[in-house]
């Protein structure tokens, strides 16, 4: 027993050593992903952000921050020039090599590893702990957990609706297994008809949609999406969802893990409608 305790203690020290600045609030943060920027703002760290990507557009204040390039191709020079105390990255979109480069230049990084809905609260807590915003992170992750739990228990419909979540109509890309939209549908107790694909955002077959006959279709909002999707919906007119007018345009909150993801979940719930 004693040995185990010592071993655990050693492990803890190792983990703590990895984040040598744990608990201490970094003064200059660079964010390499829109959802990380959003999360940093939600944790009250917005005024410490000194650099964001060109695609960080939420909240409004993020647009005014200096830009360091895109998510998959950030500029190393621009990041270094900002002299960050820590660079916040995600495994969902940032190149791994970039993190290695930063580390070789002795720049601290925090990598947000959560990709799935259920990993999100833990991800927020880790981020809070490393960036010295543990209290706010606890509150936020608690709220997220509570909402997830509420849906998990409240929604266990007797008959699962067959749902398709379209990310883009032409070429047809849908939310497959491992995507947040898929997690959301599972949590709501519904069936994502594309959950047997091999990637999280597969290019999907139209004839499979017709064959699997979804009861509800969600289409992620985008500029002019109603018009772009018109052709596709015409071709799917025999599918129950289209026949019964159960095609809904929803926000893009479910594409990446952000505090707004919960709202995306509520939106799906509202549209599918309670039958119990």
């Amino acid at each position: 027993m004693k040995k185990v305790t010592i071993l655990l203690a050693v492990l803890l020290v190792c983990v703590a050593a990895q984040y040598s600045h744990a608990g201490e609030t970094p003064k200059r943060i660079v964010s390499l992903a829109p959802n990380m920027t959003e999360l940093l703002f939600a944790l009250g760290l917005g005024d410490r952000i000194v650099g964001v990507t060109s695609f960080c557009d939420y909240p409004e204040a993020a647009k005014k921050k200096p830009k360091i390039g895109g998510m998959s191709n950030p500029s190393l020079e621009a990041v270094i020039a900002l002299k960050p105390d820590v660079v916040v990255m995600t495994v969902d979109g940032n190149p791994k090599e970039f993190e290695e480069r930063l580390r070789s230049l002795k720049i601290k990084t925090f990598v947000f590893r959560a990709k799935r809905l259920r990993e999100f609260p833990q991800g927020i807590r880790e981020m809070g702990a490393v960036l010295g915003a543990a209290e706010k992170a606890d509150v936020l992750s608690g709220e997220v957990e509570k909402t997830l739990e509420r849906f998990r228990t409240a929604r266990q419909p007797a008959k699962k609706e067959k749902v398709l979540f379209i990310v883009w109509p032409e070429p047809l890309i849908v939310a497959g297994p491992g995507s947040i939209a898929d997690d959301a549908l599972t949590l709501l107790g519904e069936k994502n008809i594309s959950d047997d694909s091999r990637t999280s955002y597969p290019k999907y077959s139209i004839e499979e949609i017709i064959r699997r006959a979804p009861d509800v279709i969600f289409i992620g909002k985008g500029k002019g999406m109603e018009r772009v999707s018109k052709g596709l919906l015409q071709r799917l007119e025999t599918v129950p969802a289209v026949k019964n007018g159960k095609v809904f345009y929803v926000s893009d909150y479910l594409y990446r893990l952000t505090p707004r993801t919960v709202k995306g979940l509520e939106e799906l719930d509202r549209y599918i409608g309670r039958r119990d």
Binding site: G70, S205, E207, I210, R211, V228, G231, L232
Partner: protein, 320 residues
């Protein structure tokens, strides 16, 4: 010769039939339920017809182009037409342009293709006519320019836009529906008829301008009409479904091996075989990993390249 003719006409028909029946799930055409009928008539049939049309356009224009450029390496994309089309389509996709609904991207691609084709024509024009070397170099130069611009746009665009544009560029037949077919049909058939009407002249051009002249053809005029036919067919094909590699290069060589190099037979035969090859490639691309789909262009190149290399080994020289 007669059996060859029958084979060349039968192969695309059989392939077309198979592409309707086979797929992620086999449909028995004699016992169809409502869903299967829907899938067969409004998903598979238009898609296979578009594949046939695109493949025909690419095969025929490859055959014509190898002749007018007197170059066995020529394919319809060497003139830069496809890179112009890809550039304008990618701009449309990445900027999310939707002014014509689901016709937006095909129309943009067609406009880009025609514009590039005309530009190549203008640059290849000197002393009252089109010159093969000039055309070729203008095409190569422009396609470098447009590919660079395409890279530029793609490197500053968001990841989602990037993926959509990439999927389109590698050939996307999944959006083919009946509404696009009439337009494709007009341009592809128009181009094919034009090139077939000039097939005799093409035979003469391959022998060289002087011989063509002494055979009673005006090389520059003939080359102009043939160039226009290639431009029409290639533009229509790119706008129907993006870039499908290899058919335009490979199929004419296959046909020469099989049925000789008389353009009067070569052009229609390359068209039929091109259509059949793309139809097969599309069938494979949508059936191999259901419910996912692969880009058809990738499949044509994977099927086509080894066969091409095999031909290359068997014959000492590939000629036009």
């Amino acid at each position: 010769m007669k059996t060859k003719l029958v084979v060349i006409i039968l192969v695309p028909l059989v392939v077309f039939g198979l592409s309707l029946v086979l797929g992620p799930k086999i449909i028995n055409p004699f016992a169809m339920d409502e869903t299967s009928r829907e899938i067969l008539f409004s998903v598979r049939a238009p898609r296979s017809i578009v594949a046939l049309l695109m493949g025909m356009a690419l095969g025929a224009s490859g055959a014509v182009l190898q002749g007018i450029l007197r170059n066995p390496l020529a394919d319809p994309y060497i003139l830069g037409i496809s890179s112009g089309a890809s550039l304008s389509a990618a701009i449309g996709i990445i900027m999310g342009l939707t002014f014509l609904g689901s016709f937006t991207i095909p129309v943009l691609a067609f406009a880009g293709a025609i514009f590039t084709g005309s530009l190549v024509g203008v640059m290849g024009w000197k002393r009252g006519g089109l010159w093969p070397e000039r055309l070729l170099l203008a095409g190569v130069g422009l396609s470098f320019l447009f590919s660079a611009l395409l890279m530029l746009i793609m490197s500053v665009s968001s990841d989602e836009g990037l993926r959509r544009a990439t999927l389109w560029i590698f050939g996307d037949l999944s959006m083919s529906d009946w509404s696009r077919i009439p337009f494709g049909l007009i341009f592809v058939l128009g181009g094919m008829l034009l090139s077939m009407a000039r097939a005799k002249a093409l035979n003469a051009l391959i022998l060289g301008d002087e011989l063509a002249h002494s055979l009673g053809f005006t090389p520059h005029v003939e080359r102009f009409f043939l160039f226009v036919s290639v431009g029409l067919m290639t533009s229509a094909s790119v706008s129907l479904g993006g870039m499908i590699g290899f058919i335009g290069l490979l199929v004419p060589h296959m046909i020469r091996f099989f049925a000789g190099s008389d353009s009067r037979a070569l052009i229609p035969a390359s068209a039929f075989m091109g259509g059949a090859l793309l139809c097969v490639a599309d069938l494979v691309s949508r059936s191999i990993l259901p419910p996912m789909e692969l880009p058809a262009g990738v499949v044509t190149a994977i099927i086509g390249s080894p066969y091409f290399l095999y031909l290359l080994r068997r014959r000492n020289v590939l000629s036009v």
